[in-house]
């Protein structure tokens, strides 16, 4: 038997696969389905103070080696979303509330409400690449990250994770700032800012023009970011970006991730992807004589 349980701050995960924010997590029913598909933890859709419709379609297209989206942070707002979380009160795995805001005050309010709803941790979306005034527009400024993280930390007692963007000059610098501000974990990476132009109509296909690239193509970028961050911070790292197979997850563990998030993988391999990847992780560990996941984390670091 191999032990694939993992710990991230105070969260105990029965397995290291988490649902990434923005995938099948708009309502309680979808999240329930993903829980039953074997995920070790759930991250909710990114929720803001007010309802938000998101960008017009096309919001998502598939490219040769990945998926390009500009959903535009659609969500029903923190008040409505409480109803969904209430329906999940008896979930047996950790629920992590993802939130986005324009400033520290908004993040603080949202984290407080998420905590009141009973989530086990919050994930600060400081990395969405396709909405003006939010996400990476804030998450590329070390001073703002410091302010947001430290204010949220003084507001809630649950773990606070910071999701960072690869669309910055130095992701390590930002991870260090988050750690110094007492973040409990780093989530890396969000999607990579990208564009697709249609040759016949001579315009970007996404209504928002710019989108975030996810899926297989971005895995090497994610692995690199996790590796670099792990060299410089001590708090746990949750790896995300292009994880489709057990071996992809192993690569992230070796780079230094304590858990992984899966998003686009739900498209490539269906909603049972969590079970499937867990099985593949176990098989790999058996085949390579690893008994616990902990032995694997960061082994590529020298």
């Amino acid at each position: 038997m191999v032990d694939t349980s993992t710990q991230i701050a105070s969260l105990q995960l029965k397995n290291p696969t988490m649902l990434a924010s923005g995938i099948m997590d708009e309502d309680a029913g979808s999240i329930q389905r993903i829980i039953e598909s074997g995920a070790g933890a759930i991250v909710t859709k990114s929720i803001g103070l007010e309802p938000r419709e998101g960008h017009p379609n096309p919001t998502l297209i598939e490219l040769d080696h990945g998926v390009l989206n500009a959903m535009g942070l659609p969500n029903s707002g923190i008040t409505n979303y409480g109803e969904e979380l209430k329906a999940l009160q008896r979930a047996k795995i950790p629920l992590i509330g993802s939130i986005y805001g324009a400033n520290a005050q908004e993040f603080t309010k949202l984290s407080q409400q998420m905590a009141d709803y009973g989530v086990d941790a919050v994930e600060l979306n400081l990395s969405c690449p396709h909405v003006k005034g939010y996400g990476v527009e804030i998450g590329c400024d070390p001073n703002l990250i410091k302010k947001i993280v430290s204010q949220v930390k003084t507001t809630v007692d649950i773990p606070v994770f910071v999701k960072l963007s690869p669309n910055v000059t130095d992701i390590v610098e930002l991870a260090k700032v988050a750690e110094a501000a007492k973040a409990d974990g780093i989530v890396a990476i969000n999607t990579v800012k990208a564009m697709k132009i249609d040759l016949e109509v001579k315009m970007p296909i996404l209504a928002n023009k710019m989108g975030g690239y996810s899926g297989k193509a971005i895995k090497p970028i994610g692995v690199r970011c996790v590796y670099e961050i792990a060299e410089h911070v001590k708090i746990p790292i949750i790896g995300v970006g292009g994880i489709t197979t057990g071996e992809d997850a192993i690569e992230y563990f070796m780079a230094g991730a304590s858990a992984v998030q899966i998003g686009t993988g739900v498209y490539y391999r269906g909603s049972d992807v969590f079970k499937t990847i867990c099985h593949e992780i176990e098989q790999w560990m058996k085949g390579h004589n690893y008994k616990t996941l902990a032995e694997l984390i960061g082994v590529a670091q020298t």
């Binding site: 099948m24 029913g29 859709k45 938000r52 998502l60 409505n80 998003g263």
Partner: protein, 259 residues
């Protein structure tokens, strides 16, 4: 690959005062009940069930209700649209005698299924429900295909006065149908489902669809059933367990909107 393929509009046909059918060339197999994502460049991309299937020509039929449908309505033959799909599961067309119940533009979704049923030698009875006489469309096409057609109008200007579901109720009472296939307003489909305790039932649902490939979660009903991928056609058993069926849908922000 799930990105729009540019094609040109072959024909744009007015069916009623505000309903049109647009046809275009698009390769690949399509099942009745499946849908395309139709991109009107610079405007929007919207899901539309296939309403016309002939060799490599496909068509969609829609009512002008918003910016996207208005833009598509005004496009002329030769102008470009983007198409991706087909998506979803389509109807299962089998048995001896199928009752089709279409309400409003839902009729357009059913017509290719009716035509396929008749090709397979399945007796087909069709209820077409519209608000008033001048909103009726595809009645000739369905009659010519060999189906027995009944019409209901809310105001009684043609056929039976009242809802299609009331007319269907009488037909279900007086006939033995091997299945009931429906598309139209969800409250209509919900009352039909309640009548079909012992008859296999399939309904095609409409939801706000964004990604169309089953990941964004926008169109989910029940316990994570994706209308774009697990549907849009669901059987009666599944719908009985989906507590939101006939009760609410979700808007673009994910807020519940009651029917």
């Amino acid at each position: 690959m799930n990105l729009p393929r540019i094609t040109t509009i072959l024909k744009s046909t007015r069916e009623t005062q505000d309903i049109k059918t647009v046809t275009f060339k698009y390769p690949g197999d399509v099942e009745p009940g499946q849908f395309f994502m139709i991109w009107i460049p610079g405007v929007d991309e919207i899901p539309m069930s296939v309403s016309y299937l002939y060799e490599d020509i496909r068509g969609v039929t829609f009512r002008k209700v918003g910016a996207a449908t208005a833009a598509l309505y005004n496009l002329k033959p030769g102008e470009k649209i983007g198409v991706r799909g087909p998506y979803g599961n389509g109807f299962t067309i089998e048995g001896k005698h199928i009752l089709f119940v279409g309400g409003g533009t839902g009729i357009a979704t059913l017509v290719p299924a009716i035509e396929q049923a008749l090709t397979k030698g399945i007796t087909s009875t069709v209820v077409m429900g519209v608000k008033k006489r001048r909103e009726l469309f595809f009645d000739e096409r369905v009659t010519n295909s060999g189906a027995v057609v009944y019409v209901s109008t809310d105001d009684g200007s043609l056929g039976s006065k009242g809802f299609a579901s009331a007319l269907a109720k009488e037909l279900i009472r007086d006939n033995t149908f091997t299945s009931v296939l429906t598309c139209g307003p969800e409250t209509m489909m919900k009352s039909l489902l309640d009548m079909c305790e012992h008859i296999p039932f399939q309904a095609s649902l409409e939801r706000y669809i964004k990604c169309s490939i089953g990941i964004c979660g926008q169109c989910c009903i029940g316990k994570g059933l994706r209308v774009c991928k697990d549907g849009p056609v669901f059987d009666g058993k599944t719908l009985k367990n989906a507590k939101d069926f006939g009760v609410y849908r979700r808007d673009s922000a994910g807020r519940k909107v009651r029917f």
